[in-house]
């Protein structure tokens, strides 16, 4: 099989395999659970790491999320439900953690330093600058931006994950992008849309 037919067949096989893995891990198969962890750790750890900006704290939180998943495996109905569940639990835990420990860096938007050099595509400095500007946003707005750009979710999906109205998500996104453009336009004229 070649082309899109082959791709669809592979995707179907992967979906069936994932369903089977989920079923086996719900029956106590630890190898199957390890497979689930390996497949989703990038998503969970990525969300936590971008939000908390601390790798060890993010690993600790991700570990707790997977332990929580293990205890609630029986309530997971499908691979899609699993992904939704992980995003939701991770997001809420990150927001709680940030509020509890005041992890959010105490820097204001004005304190974010300008890059020394003019950034080019895929420039690490530009990525770092963007992350630092996002750090200055409120917890919910930050998580909205991370879910939008790390997980490529639509506002309606973000609203479901964060239990908030779609319009609130849209306004968070609009305001955050406006702040990012303002900040970046001072240093990178071409970044504005």
């Amino acid at each position: 099989m070649v082309g899109w037919e082959g791709t669809i067949a592979l995707e179907n096989r992967a979906a069936v395999a994932l369903e089977d893995t989920l079923e086996r891990s719900a029956q106590g198969d630890q190898w199957a659970f390890a497979e689930i962890v390996r497949q989703h750790q990038g998503m969970v750890f990525g969300l936590a790491c971008h939000f908390l900006r601390d790798r060890s704290l993010a690993e600790e939180l991700s570990q707790e999320v997977f332990l929580n998943l293990y205890q609630n495996l029986r309530s997971i109905k499908s691979p899609a439900h699993l992904t939704f569940w992980l995003r939701k639990v991770t997001s809420h835990r990150c927001i709680d953690q940030a509020r509890r420990q005041k992890v959010r860096p105490q820097v204001s938007l004005e304190d974010v330093p300008e890059p020394f050099t003019r950034a080019t595509e895929n420039d690490l400095l530009l990525s770092e600058l963007l992350r630092r500007v996002v750090d200055t946003l409120t917890e919910k707005a930050r998580m909205v931006v991370i879910l939008r750009y790390q997980e490529d979710l639509e506002p309606a999906e973000i609203a479901k994950v964060l239990d908030m109205p779609v319009n609130t998500v849209k306004s968070h996104l609009r305001r955050s992008l406006s702040i990012l453009r303002d900040k970046l336009s001072r240093t990178l004229g071409e970044v504005t849309s």
């Binding site: 390890a34 962890v37 971008h50 570990q63 293990y70 992350r131």
Partner: protein, 181 residues
């Protein structure tokens, strides 16, 4: 799609934890009691898409064999006495009575036993007896059909084979999906 969107996607792409992350999660899980699997969840799992096909095939095969056996037993009944002897059922014409009515061959001084079926606690009808042979059954007799017994054995064997095949198939699927170590 603006360049800002692209830059944000690059800045917030997924990140991987340290290499021993999965092992640490598994170690923590090993310290916890395994989640208990309830019998109804196992039963419900049989009706989920990957297994449903095999369950349906097995159930249909078992049902067909059972219906066939039941039909066979209904058409070929025999009577077995309490001391274990199998008495082949005879048509009512040969037994001298028909439906409890005395025939001309019967001796007038020897009254025919009352064959009218009445409820009796010692009568065990193991198989359905057709109207034609019902009058040959005496109270205390057990109605058994050797062919039915044989058919029952076949059903049990068929079910056993189906069960074995399903188990093998499930094991093969599990082995194929098990992560390579």
């Amino acid at each position: 799609m603006s360049r800002l969107d692209d830059e944000l996607r690059i800045a917030f792409r997924r990140e991987q934890p340290s290499t021993e992350f999965t092992d640490r999660v598994l170690k923590q899980i090993a310290r916890q009691p395994a989640p208990r699997v309830r019998w109804w969840r196992t039963l419900a799992a049989l009706f989920q898409p990957p297994k449903l096909r095999w369950v349906a095939i097995g159930a249909t095969a078992a049902l067909l064999v059972a219906i066939g056996a039941a039909q066979y037993a209904r058409l070929h009944p025999t009577v077995i006495t309490d001391n274990g002897k199998v008495a082949e059922t005879q048509p009512p014409e040969a037994s001298g009575t028909a439906g409890g009515v005395k025939t001309p061959d019967s001796a007038p001084e020897a009254p025919a036993p009352k064959l009218e079926p009445k409820p009796h606690r010692n009568i065990h009808r193991l198989m359905t007896v057709s109207n034609r042979t019902r009058n040959n059954v005496r109270p205390g007799d057990r109605v058994v059909n050797p062919e039915a017994e044989a058919a029952k054995e076949k059903v049990m064997l068929a079910l056993y084979i189906t069960n074995t095949m399903l188990s093998d198939a499930q094991r093969a699927i599990s082995d194929a999906d098990k992560p390579q170590r």
